[in-house]
């Protein structure tokens, strides 16, 4: 007798029986091996995937301490009997599981008799009864809607359908157009608790997403982007031209990366260089200067730029302009969870005739409003190439205190006038780091998880879109 035959016979016997049938008994009546019948029962159980009787039996036995698990056993965990006899016969009776498949065709009672008193035998027999949805034919519920079900009947395809459609159109066929075998199908319910399948896609880096937003803000404000693709800069342009004295601490090896190859810059605009030398060593343009022995050798030293302001300085001569840049700068600093040797500097510059400190504050207000920061206040600060210099603080609602969000100032005349800018031109500027707002935005505590190869790709994969104002 084929397996299918056994299943069919079994179903008929269940239908005929009052109450239910016993699997052992049925097997002998049908003259098949009991295991064949067990197979048939299991295939019926498979129609309801919630059943897992083996495991339930095991856990009952475990909880009653009839068996024990030795995980350290050679060759993997083994299960051992821990009692010689189960004296509580009621408990053995408890192993006759009543497992219901309430929703579907069958009621199946599974009788499990674990003969714990004899070590050799484990006989499981099943007590099988009708379920609420009992029928003698087996129809598996469909998992998914298929093109065939929509077309009409499972096997045929679109071509056939096309032909039928055209026949219908021409009116040559009397056949009624009844699309869809899906109408007769039963469908398994979806599990809406589960998550969907993750789409196969690429991702942008969170820091770059934030950079995009900052660029957007600057562009919205009418700021032109500066070409900042020059990491290597001479000390002259990075420091001297910004009126930063040669003995300034920032020019120490502790703070700045010097270049050993190519060590020196070899080309300077000579007339301008003389003007810079003069303003440092003697003063001029209404300034006392720093009055020290300015050395070209110091200015020639190549470094990894420590800020992008050098680029701003070079862009300034085009009057009435607004510039911005977001690019890498380098500091030879001690590293910690929030500081790296390189970071992205965001810089905004406005150059025009007659700008005021109020204009700087107004512009900053507009800029930070676009970031969702409206409460600002300004603290006097010191910076060698801006005067006045102001630290920008914003009120952090979460921390309930004022936190520093950026630096700003008005470029010193000692920097601008040697460049040939007219005297009535004022240049206002501000800067902040890109990493800090990104870490806050994406809740990252260690900067190394954000920038560099130690990045956590899962974080990149899971990152939301960046809306700075919210």
């Amino acid at each position: 007798m084929s397996d299918a035959g056994v299943l069919e016979t079994l179903l008929r016997r269940i239908e005929a029986a009052d109450g239910g049938v016993d699997s052992l008994e049925t097997a002998s009546v049908l003259g098949v091996d009991h295991q064949v019948l067990v197979g048939a029962v299991k295939s019926l159980l498979a129609l309801e995937d919630k059943l897992s009787f083996g495991k339930i039996g095991f856990s009952k036995a475990m909880s009653n301490k009839w068996i024990k698990v030795d995980k350290t056993h050679e060759g993997g965990p083994r299960i051992f009997r821990s009692v010689e006899n189960i004296e509580d016969q009621g408990a053995v009776e408890g192993l006759l599981w009543l497992l219901s498949t309430s929703q579907h065709e069958l009621w199946i009672i599974i009788e499990t008799a674990i003969q714990l008193t004899t070590t050799r035998w484990t006989v499981k027999s099943y007590w099988i009864t009708k379920g609420s949805c009992f029928s003698t034919t087996i129809t598996k519920p469909e998992t998914e809607l298929t093109p065939e079900m929509i077309a009409n009947d499972g096997g045929r395809d679109l071509r056939l359908r096309r032909r039928e459609t055209s026949a219908l159109k021409k009116g040559t066929s009397a056949k009624t157009w009844t699309l869809g075998s899906w109408k007769e199908k039963k469908f398994k319910p979806y599990n809406f608790e589960a998550l969907g399948v993750a789409p196969d896609c690429g991702h942008l880096h969170p820091l770059m997403k934030v950079r995009t937003q900052f660029r957007q803000i600057f562009l919205e404000m009418g700021f032109t982007e500066m070409p900042t693709n020059n990491f290597i800069e001479s000390s002259f342009w990075n420091f001297d031209s910004l009126f930063q004295p040669q003995q300034h601490p920032a020019r120490d090896a502790h703070d700045t990366f010097f270049i050993s190859d190519p060590a020196l810059a070899h080309e300077f605009p000579l007339e301008y260089l003389e003007r810079v030398k003069k303003i440092h060593s003697e003063g001029g343009y209404g300034s006392q200067g720093y009055k020290y022995d300015w050395k070209i050798e110091e200015a020639q030293k190549n470094i990894l730029r420590t800020h992008t302001t050098a680029v701003s300085a070079r862009m300034l001569y085009k009057l009435a302009q607004q510039y911005f840049s977001i690019d890498r700068v380098f500091r030879n600093e001690t590293l910690d969870a929030t500081h790296l040797a390189e970071f992205h500097q965001i810089e905004g510059v406005v150059a025009d005739r007659g700008l005021t400190l109020g204009d700087l504050m107004g512009t900053l207000h507009q800029f930070f409003t676009k970031l969702g920061i409206t409460k600002l206040r300004f603290k006097p600060a010191y910076n060698p190439y801006t005067e006045p210099s102001m630290e920008v603080f914003s009120y952090h609602e979460g921390l309930k205190k004022w936190v520093e969000v950026g630096n700003s100032g008005v470029f010193r005349p000692e920097m601008l006038l040697p460049m040939g800018l007219p005297e009535d031109v004022t240049v206002i500027a501000w800067g902040l780091s890109l990493e800090r707002p990104t870490m806050i935005k994406y809740g990252i505590n260690n900067i190394r998880e954000l920038v560099g190869h130690k990045v956590n790709l899962q974080m990149v994969y899971d990152g939301p879109i960046c809306r700075l104002e919210s």
């Binding site: 071509r159 770059m208 693709n229 050993s260 190859d261 406005v350 400190l357 006097p380 006045p388 190869h453």
Partner: protein
């Protein structure tokens, strides 16, 4: 930032007002200070030395305040400066010998007479020296301060320099004499002094100051002698400052003496000392110079953006310890800069003090009237756009450091560092910062290694700058924008990386073809073929032999792709095959990226140097333009409209098109054409450097006579004519090529998916049927069976068709006619040949 401790109650007494801690914090903020900590001496001692020691200490509340780096004058309690004048009489002399020139050439000195030290003042005196040493003295490298009990020594003093072995004295707080050589090794382990040893360590002569009897006062900048040390009983103090920077030495001396002259019997007086230079000249110190500056209140109002009366501004400045008076001449204010305010070097510093006194946060916000049209930097714009689409192509963006170890870009990639054109860093703190990267690949491989636990395949990309040495640049190096991507999986996936390259080229509108388009070819092959270029195309040891191809665009190599060499994979601690692509993206900018990396300050001499023959154009130019006659209002109106949303005639920078148009306009336009006027004024600012502006792409100004088009008479006249010629020739070639094209028979290569009814369909028979379809202009190609699932296979078959003769519809119809085998036909791929 230095921190000072101030007794709260004393401070409030001096201020004449008491504040709560919060109020005081706010007050500090307004003046750029920071209330760092509220503590007491007792608390400090108990924290540092334990509770037992703290029992006797004072409970008086201390405010610890952070002071910004330019306000050294705030380093003491109740900051104030005093007018002091030197006493008359025979001054103490400090004679400088010429030996000092090579090591520490400057020295200044002064005397504090009849001073009374208390423990508190004494501590404060020592603390001030230390603060000054750390800040303005740049850790004693610029200036070193020595203070001595004048009654233990006798002048004149000599500041000289001697070989270290010849200097011998008992240094401060030591019990015996040491030579300078011994001292240097003694202090090697001193946590405080060892930081200063380097200043003179390798000099042949060490600076030293003797009194008339040969007693050593100090060996600057390391240590003073024990003999002349200051005690609580000291009455007369000799202050000397030795320096490498005279200006700073004067400032430091001024600060030392002004701060402590208060405790002299005649308060705020300092006795002068005379310094004798090697050339016999003499000079008296301290300078204590009071400087007067004049500025107008209008200047302050204009710069700050406020509108206050001259009197108010003078009052504000006086409040900031800058005594100011209204002179009565217009709105002039005379400001006295005391010797303690060495940070005030320009009127803008005075303006800042006025702004601070007014209160930064009281200044009304205004918006600049600056009108601009925003532009993106073309290279960054391209980068932004590409990044979006590469992510859409399924690759994830990485962001790696621009600095890395030498090993990363050389050994690990199987290359020699000498081949890399890498820029080297002189003072790296760790191996991670030895060089600037020359390739993006190591960063991506390290990112892979750090994320090995993530599910495969890993697909990463980065578009960022590398740095290469380049002698043509002023600094000898330049950035280069690169695109790099890696694919890391159980199989190398060269086809994936190749596909990404194809997609990238598609995004960049570069066709797959030799010549103008792009193609890839085996890197080794070229090595054999053209020996002159061997250097450029030699086998790349980063890649697996035979699995590396060079990417050519318009005949020029822009990068490489291939399967990484197993050794490279192992060196980056990876275990799976990996393929990669890296290429320059600057060649795809359309027009050259802004190349003006040399610093383009408007410098007459640079321009003159390069363009000596530039002369203003005096010839009358045509007023006929594409906008009509610009000498007429109609023409100007058209031009004004054109410029309404543009900064320049062409593109995003000033070009010859702007200057040419500028010349065409007879006179400055009236304000009825606001856009034109803005543009006109803007372009005017470029005229000085017009000759090196990029050339125009299209003619806006129409010529009246066509024999001479060069308006500028620049040197490169011939060059540009040649370039023009070349361009024309190219255009002609291109046009010819284009016109030829339609004559060719347009063909397409089609890949068809033919699906059978079920797994029992005879596939061989089906293929036979398909191939039996014969049409003119149809050529069947290779085929294969592709498993679909459940044992069903589909037939994938290629064919080449002539577009005009065979349509896909026709083909489909013909194949589906074999109903008993064929269920459906789909076009899997369609490519123009």
């Amino acid at each position: 930032m230095p921190t000072v401790g101030v007794k709260r109650d004393l401070l409030f007494k001096a201020l004449g007002k008491t504040y709560t801690d919060v109020e005081f914090d706010e007050l500090c903020f307004e003046y750029g200070l920071e209330l760092d900590e509220i503590t007491s001496e007792k608390e400090i001692i108990s924290r540092e030395q334990g509770d037992s020691k703290a029992s006797g200490a004072s409970d008086v509340i201390l405010y610890k305040i952070d002071v910004p780096a330019n306000r050294y004058d705030l380093l003491l309690e109740a900051p104030r400066y005093r007018r002091v004048s030197p006493l008359s009489g025979e001054p103490q002399k400090l004679i400088i010998t010429e030996e000092t020139a090579a090591v520490r050439p400057h020295a200044v000195a002064a005397v504090l007479r009849n001073i009374t030290f208390t423990q508190e003042r004494y501590d404060s005196f020592i603390e001030l020296q230390e603060k000054l040493h750390q800040n303005i003295c740049r850790k004693r490298s610029l200036v070193a301060i020595g203070t001595h009990d004048l009654d233990t020594v006798s002048g004149p003093f000599t500041y000289t320099a001697k070989p270290p072995a010849e200097i011998s004295f008992k240094p401060l707080n030591q019990t015996k004499e040491y030579t300078a050589t011994q001292l240097m090794s003694l202090y090697k382990t001193d946590s405080h002094l060892r930081h200063y040893l380097h200043i003179i360590e390798d000099k042949p002569l060490y600076p030293v100051i003797y009194d008339r009897n040969g007693i050593v006062l100090s060996m600057p900048p390391i240590i003073n002698g024990d003999h002349s040390k200051i005690t609580l009983k000291t009455k007369n103090v000799f202050v000397e400052c030795t320096a490498t920077d005279l200006t700073k030495a004067k400032i430091v001396l001024d600060m030392m003496v002004t701060m402590f002259s208060e405790y002299c019997s005649q308060p705020f007086t300092v006795e002068e000392a005379e310094v004798v230079y090697p050339d016999g000249k003499t000079c008296k110190y301290p300078e204590l110079a009071y400087r007067k500056e004049k500025l107008s209140s209008d200047f302050v109002n204009r710069k700050v953006g406020i509108n206050e009366s001259t009197e108010t501004i003078a009052r504000l400045l006086t409040k900031m310890c800058l005594r100011s008076e209204v002179t009565g001449v217009g709105d002039e204010i005379e400001v006295e800069i005391p010797p303690t305010r060495s940070d005030v070097i320009h009127a803008c510093d005075i303006m800042e003090d006025a702004a601070m006194a007014y209160g930064f946060n009281n200044i009304p916000y205004t918006t600049p009237r600056t009108y601009t049209v925003a532009n993106q930097f073309p290279l960054n714009k391209l980068t932004e756009l590409l990044r979006q689409d590469l992510a859409a192509a399924g690759f994830t963006e990485a962001l790696n450091f621009a600095l890395c170890s030498t090993e990363d870009i050389s050994d690990k990639l199987g290359k020699k560092i000498s081949e890399t054109r890498a820029v080297h860093i002189a003072n790296p703190k760790t191996a991670e910062f030895q060089v600037a990267r020359t390739t993006l690949l190591p960063g991506l491989l390290k990112t892979l290694a750090a994320n090995r636990k993530m599910p495969l395949p890993l697909k990463l990309f980065e578009i960022s700058d590398v740095v290469l040495k380049d002698d043509t640049k002023d600094v000898g190096a330049r950035n280069s924008r690169r695109f790099c991507a890696v694919y890391y999986n159980k199989s190398p996936g060269f086809e994936v990386i190749h596909g990404l390259l194809d997609r990238t080229m598609q995004l960049l509108e570069v066709k797959s073809e030799r010549g103008d388009g792009y193609h890839i070819q085996a890197a080794e092959e070229i090595d054999l073929k053209c020996s002159p270029f061997k250097y450029f195309f030699k086998v790349d040891s980063t890649f697996f032999p035979g699995r590396c191809a060079e990417i050519f665009v318009g005949g020029k190599s822009v990068g490489r792709l291939g399967v990484l060499h197993p050794d490279v994979i192992t060196r980056f601690e990876l275990t799976m095959p990996c393929s990669a692509v890296e290429m320059d993206i600057e060649p795809f900018l359309g027009h050259p990226a802004e190349t003006t990396r040399t610093h383009d300050v408007p410098l007459h001499e640079v321009i003159k140097h390069h363009f000596p023959s530039q002369v203003p154009n005096s010839r009358p130019t045509s007023t006929k333009t594409v906008f009509g006659d610009v000498s007429s209002a109609a023409g100007l109106k058209a031009l004004d409209d054109f410029l309404a949303d543009k900064s320049y005639m062409e593109g995003f920078e000033a070009t010859q098109a702007d200057t040419t148009m500028f010349d065409a306009i007879p006179s400055a336009p009236s304000s009825t054409f606001p856009h034109l006027l803005r543009w006109y004024n803007h372009v005017k600012s470029f005229l000085r450097e017009r000759a090196n502006l990029p050339s125009a792409k299209s003619p806006f100004v129409l010529e009246e006579d066509d024999d001479d088009i060069d308006l500028f008479g620049s040197d490169d006249e011939e060059d540009s004519a040649e370039v023009e010629k070349l361009k024309e020739q190219r255009l002609a070639e291109y046009a010819a090529k284009k016109s030829k094209k339609p004559a060719l028979i347009a063909k397409s290569s089609i890949l068809l998916d033919v699906k059978p009814w079920d797994d029992e369909t005879d596939m061989a028979k089906m293929e036979e049927c398909v191939r039996s379809v014969k049409m003119e202009g149809l050529l069947w190609g290779q085929s294969k069976m592709v498993p679909v699932g459940y044992g069903i296979k589909k037939l994938q078959i290629g064919c080449v068709v002539e577009d005009e003769k065979v349509g896909t519809d026709l083909l489909e119809e013909a194949i589906t006619a074999f109903e008993e085998y064929v269920q459906s036909v789909d076009v899997a791929a369609f490519n123009k040949v």
